[in-house]
């Protein structure tokens, strides 16, 4: 019987059937961070349970740490130091690998899981963090879980689940100049709503997806959860293999050769059937920016704020009206030229090398507009150091950006830091939720190039009108 990419990975991880619907599913890797990992390990300790396979468990610090240069365990988060110290103590007690603050491999969970080769194609990887779907870019199942499920997977190496339905999203055609993976995913969500994936496992396919480099694929998969998908994944190909080969925890030598043979089967059969299919014509995608408080509240850069009266559904209409009140916007207002107070480049969505290169391409020789606070947080030490070797830090600093240490940072008030109430912020992150970047902060999501263009303009702008040197997309070096 014809099978999908998801079927092929999932089915070989089923340990046993538990009832009519639920399965016990083997999980190959678990990644923890100090916010939720510390709570899960503490709970296991209190219950006297052991971690079944510490070899397959990794941890980092990203949610509580601040990102100021010279940082340590103390952060602005009330009670934050306890999370950092508890994560360190429990990781040591249990014997799991922790990439601690001053480790050269430190960074945001989902970035370093890929960078270090901890996640490779064909694996099932769980983390108590909703953006674990990012790792689907490698052709793995990235499974975001809560703390209880985290305790379960640590204690049993398995999760209990019902196999999700399956969705394929095909991106036809090619992306226009200056259009990025960020625009692809936000456009998709705006078109089919934030609940559009209905909890299904989603495969991204089509020529525009195949043309993406790995950094862009991570961006595309990262926001699968914002589309309400169980996870998002892309079939591994030559681009994936080239990325994985030689990474520290990836299979080496004969193991790699055998893995490569397994991975070559990881694609949906031609006649595989999906429960749901969506298609996007890439020529419809513009550099995209959000206007409201859900990623579904988004339009192309030349678009206008819509009228809640036009929403077909009353709960959606109420949400739109509340969003406009919160964002301080009126129906019909253009997004372009809307003045901003803050600009942030960072997060598991868009803080990789090609993201920083794309922003630097716009910032080079320009200055952040007066009155705009602009911050860049590279996603990992590896990204930061590679960028610094290319002189990208100098470009950001010369333009007037702050250049920070890796961590989740201003994506959500991490490190206890936010923008000020009613400030309008353009951000390369994944969630424009109310209060996400600080109480009453107004967030507009966009690609790193769009954030850079807005930062130098002092207002939301079209990145295509700025000469630039790279994109998070098929043009990236």
């Amino acid at each position: 019987m014809a099978r999908t990419l998801f079927d092929k990975i999932w089915d070989r991880h089923v340990v046993r059937q538990l009832d009519d619907q639920s399965l016990l599913v083997y999980v190959d890797r678990v990644f923890l961070h100090e916010r939720t990992g510390s709570v899960a390990l503490t709970a296991l300790e209190e219950e006297g349970r052991r971690v079944r396979n510490p070899q397959h468990v990794f941890a980092t610090m990203d949610h509580i740490l601040d990102t100021f240069p010279g940082r340590g365990d103390r952060t602005l988060v009330p009670g934050g130091e306890a999370f950092v110290k508890t994560m360190r103590r429990t990781a040591n007690d249990v014997g799991i690998r922790l990439f601690d603050i001053h480790d050269g491999r430190h960074g945001i969970t989902h970035l370093i899981s890929a960078e270090q080769g901890i996640t490779v194609p064909g694996l099932v990887v769980a983390c108590p963090d909703s953006h674990t779907c990012t790792l689907g870019a490698l052709g793995a199942i990235g499974w975001g879980i809560g703390t209880s499920d985290c305790e379960h997977v640590l204690a049993t190496e398995t999760l209990r689940a019902v196999k999700p339905g399956q969705l394929r999203v095909t991106f036809d055609g090619a992306l226009g100049p200056g259009v990025t993976a960020k625009d692809m995913i936000v456009h998709l969500i705006a078109r089919y709503t934030a609940a559009g994936a209905r909890g299904f496992a989603m495969e991204y396919a089509g020529p525009a997806v195949e043309a993406l480099d790995m950094d862009a694929r991570f961006t595309l998969c990262n926001m699968a959860v914002e589309f309400s998908a169980f996870t998002g994944l892309i079939a591994p190909d030559a681009t994936t293999l080239e990325y994985v080969r030689g990474r520290p925890y990836a299979p080496q030598g004969p193991d790699f050769e055998q893995a490569e043979r397994n991975w070559s089967e990881l694609r949906s059969d031609d006649d595989a059937e999906f429960d749901l299919e969506y298609r996007i014509d890439c020529s419809d995608i513009q550099p995209t920016v959000t206007w409201g408080t859900s990623p579904e509240h988004a339009v192309g850069i030349d678009g206008r704020v819509p009228d809640p009266e036009t929403a077909g559904d009353h709960d959606a209409g109420r949400a739109m009206q509340l969003a406009l009140d919160y964002m301080g916007l009126e129906p019909g207002q253009p997004l372009k030229t809307l003045p901003i107070d803050g600009a942030f480049i960072g997060s598991c969505t868009n803080a990789r090398l090609s993201d920083l290169r794309a922003a630097a391409g716009i910032l080079r020789g320009r200055r952040v507009a007066r009155g705009v606070r602009a911050i860049c947080t590279p996603g990992s030490q590896v990204v930061k150091q590679t960028a610094e070797a290319e002189g990208i830090d100098e470009v950001f600093l010369a333009a007037g950006f702050e250049w920070r240490e890796p961590g989740c940072s201003l994506c959500f008030n991490a490190g206890g830091e936010g923008f000020a109430p009613e400030e309008r912020v353009i951000s390369s992150t994944n969630r424009n939720f109310r209060g996400r970047q600080g109480p009453r902060v107004r967030t507009h999501l966009a690609s790193p190039a769009m954030v850079a263009a807005a930062a130098v303009s002092g207002a939301i702008a079209d990145s295509r009108e700025f000469a630039e040197t790279g994109t998070n997309g098929q043009d990236a070096a």
Binding site: I145, G146, S228, Y249, G435
Partner: protein, 208 residues
Amino acid sequence: MKPFTQHSGIAAALLVDNIDTDQIIPSREMKRVSKLGLGEGLFAGWRYVYDGAERAGENAEFVLNDPVFRNATILLGGANFGCGSSREHAVWALADFGIRAVIASSFGRIFRNNCARNGLLAVELAAEHVDRIAAQGAEPVDIDLEACRLTLGDGTTIDFDVPPADRDMLIRGLDYIDFALRYADDIDAFVTRDRRSRPWAHLRASES
């Protein structure tokens, strides 16, 4: 875990789509390495008024501050309730506040899973049914999980579906880690087989 079989309570309506877990509990309200005492931070951005970033009293407009709904034990939501961050703190905060069930037209997947693991019932119903419950105001709703049936104040009944594993876990108040560990032999056998067929997927001590 506290078993859930039957419950009767007042339902407070938050009929807006995409209420995310950052709304249910903002990250700045998660102050301790603990699952306890989070009710105070529930809907903190909506429930309180602020002077700058400091709390300066209750927001009288918010439904859970309405004297009629202050003791609500059921919450009604729109589409995609509990989307966003995986933080189980959202469920712990709801439970600590006294909420026993959330009824919405759809849920964020991780939130829904987290509910079942903590004795909180998540019921997915068509939006018109949710609206109908909201329309009866402070009349109590009876929930019978054994029968998977809601009964409204006027005697109207609405049947619902819950995944059998979640229902079982809620009714019996099972510890589901113990449940999985009953299959430890199956897990061992799986790992032994898998090490042979996918040696590349298993890390060895020297590599970590």
